[in-house]
Amino acid sequence: MLKISGVTKTFNAGTINEKKALNGIDLHLKPKDFVTIIGGNGAGKSTMLNMIAGVYNCDTGSIVLSNEDITKQPEHKRAKLLGRVFQDPMRGTAADMEIEENLAMAYRRGKVRGLSWGITKEEKALYVEKLKMLDLGLENRMTSKVGLLSGGQRQALTLLMATLQKPQLLLLDEHTAALDPKTAHKVLSITEHIINEQGLTALMVTHNMKDAIRLGNRLIMMHEGRIIYDVEGEEKKNLKVEDLLKKFETVSNGEFANDRMLLA
């Protein structure tokens, strides 16, 4: 499915701000794997997702997704394989465009855009159906500008947009971090529902350890640009937050106490 081999990335190489973000990442995902990723700030979680999405180029290593080598593909080309939801609710949608226009854009992910009409009647019916599933009442506001929606509604919409065309891999980059607990919970349950329903392969970065343990079939922990812990199946199910904390303290020599993961 997804095969990341020996990927490294250094930002601002050769300057005083040099930062080794990824130190040789190897990761192999099976189809329908739902992997949660945890780790402290600067561990390289978001960088890894951005490398897969093509925001940055790899210094070394390769990324293969669905038997296609996407290491050198530009961001917009590999978008056909990927569904993405960002941490910032503003990033995933176009504020000045209508809800249905945003969905129509997402519906054309991976297709050649031509001069035919940007949105058709049949599509609109489909969008209403899909929006009903979110249970946020958005189906009655198809022509409202997305800028009028709350952060939670925008994240839910982005999630729907990312999966409107079934992606080979869904990338969720702390997509509930900017939401209040109640809304975050709602968006997470929508996430779970969509992933199960469509049988998606997904990578989800989170700062909430309980969520990381509860959701998905596999969990990886990152530290200083490396994957330091990788569990799946029964072993993962039986994990406790304390186990993860202990695991983390051993690799980071106690500096973990300051990390915001403790708040989770």
Binding site: H76, G118, L136, T143, Q153, A156
Partner: protein, 345 residues
């Protein structure tokens, strides 16, 4: 009487310059790209059309190469910005400066007279025989309607939607699989093509092309867009917004014609335009109190410069009336978005 005549000329000029404003609207408002190229591509369109007419080409046909060269100019700015990563303002300035030399090369000198040559207006004059201003107005209105119809269609297509979204949120557009670099280049080509078309019409209607005719185009465009938005309201559907842009261009020309008639020095025009733009950009940022003060100051400034009180107050009154009428029209036709805002997660 003089003033009425000046206003008539201003309206037809306003429509022809309105095409330029539509071009600036595409780059500045839709693509969110402050494109300085337009100062050069406006004169480019005029120069290309004028020199081709002098060489014996049909004035209508000469519009096509004018549009095409404008598009090339926009495309170059787009490539400078997207592929070589030059900041947008600088990329535009580079093309604009280059065009100054190129325009002189095209014409062989700093200007080209169309005296005695046939133009789109003189052709029509031979057929119907109305005044130059009226004919320029008729041509301008028809071309504007066609252009607005084409733009309305284009921005409804898949590519057009992606282009609008690029001006809104590039990250999203790339994540959804469209090439934002290509979108920007298309938008710049479209915008500058329109600006060049406008330059060609203006050159033909005024009877000459001049290398300096494009100076300040971007600022005039912005002033017109802002006036259009303030007076006609930034709402309703897309075609209305585009028509409002042309309307803004007409009002801008009328204001200029009137203050000139009232005795303002033509060399002070650029100062006035800059003040109008800065003033309009300040409006949404400052508090209501400051807003009213600024309005009063602007009117006082106009009165001071022109030394006329009654006509200026009449203009202000007229603008307020147009504004009221248009807001009533909008209220009648517009679905009220604000009512939908209440529900939320």
């Amino acid at each position: 009487m003089n003033i009425l005549l000046a206003i008539e000329g201003a309206i037809s000029q306003g429509v022809l310059w309105g095409l330029m404003t539509l071009g600036v609207y595409i780059t500045f408002k839709i693509l969110n790209f402050a494109d300085m190229t337009v100062d050069g591509s406006f004169a480019l369109g005029g120069a290309v059309s004028a020199i081709l007419i002098v060489k014996g080409m049909n004035p209508w046909l000469s519009l096509i190469p004018a549009i095409l060269t404008g598009m090339v100019a926009g495309g170059i700015t787009g490539i400078l910005h997207t592929k070589i990563k030059i900041p947008e303002i600088l990329a535009g300035i580079l093309t604009m400066i280059a065009l100054y030399s190129i325009n002189i090369r095209i014409m062989g000198q700093a200007n080209t007279s169309l005296l005695g040559e046939s133009t789109v207006i003189s052709i029509l004059n031979g057929m119907i025989g109305a005044s130059t201003n009226t004919l320029a107005l008729v041509i301008g209105v028809i071309v504007s309607i066609i252009v607005i119809a084409i733009l309305y269609w284009f921005f409804g297509t898949e590519v057009g939607s992606a282009l609008r979204a690029t001006g809104n949120n590039e990250y999203m557009v790339r994540a959804l699989g469209a090439n934002t670099d290509v979108m920007k280049i298309i938008g710049l080509m479209l915008g500058n093509g329109l600006v060049a078309l406008s330059g060609a019409f203006v050159a033909q209607s005024q009877g000459y092309a001049d290398v300096g005719m494009g100076q300040g185009t971007i600022v005039i465009g912005l002033a017109s867009i802002i006036i259009g938005e303030v007076v006609f309201g930034n709402r309703f559907n897309f075609a209305y917004k585009l028509a409002a842009v042309v309307g803004g261009s007409i009002i801008y020309r009328i204001i200029i014609a009137v203050v000139l008639q009232l005795g303002m020095k033509s060399t002070d025009l650029k100062l006035l335009t800059a003040i109008i733009v800065a003033f309009a950009l300040a409006m949404p940022v400052v508090s209501k109190k400051v807003r009213y003060t600024l309005c009063v100051l602007l009117v006082a400034f106009m009165i001071l410069v022109t030394k006329q009180i009654v006509p200026i107050l009449l203009i202000v009154l007229a603008l307020i009336i147009v504004k009221l009428i248009s807001s009533v029209i909008c209220k009648v036709f517009q679905k009220d978005e604000s009512k939908q805002e209440v529900k939320g997660a």
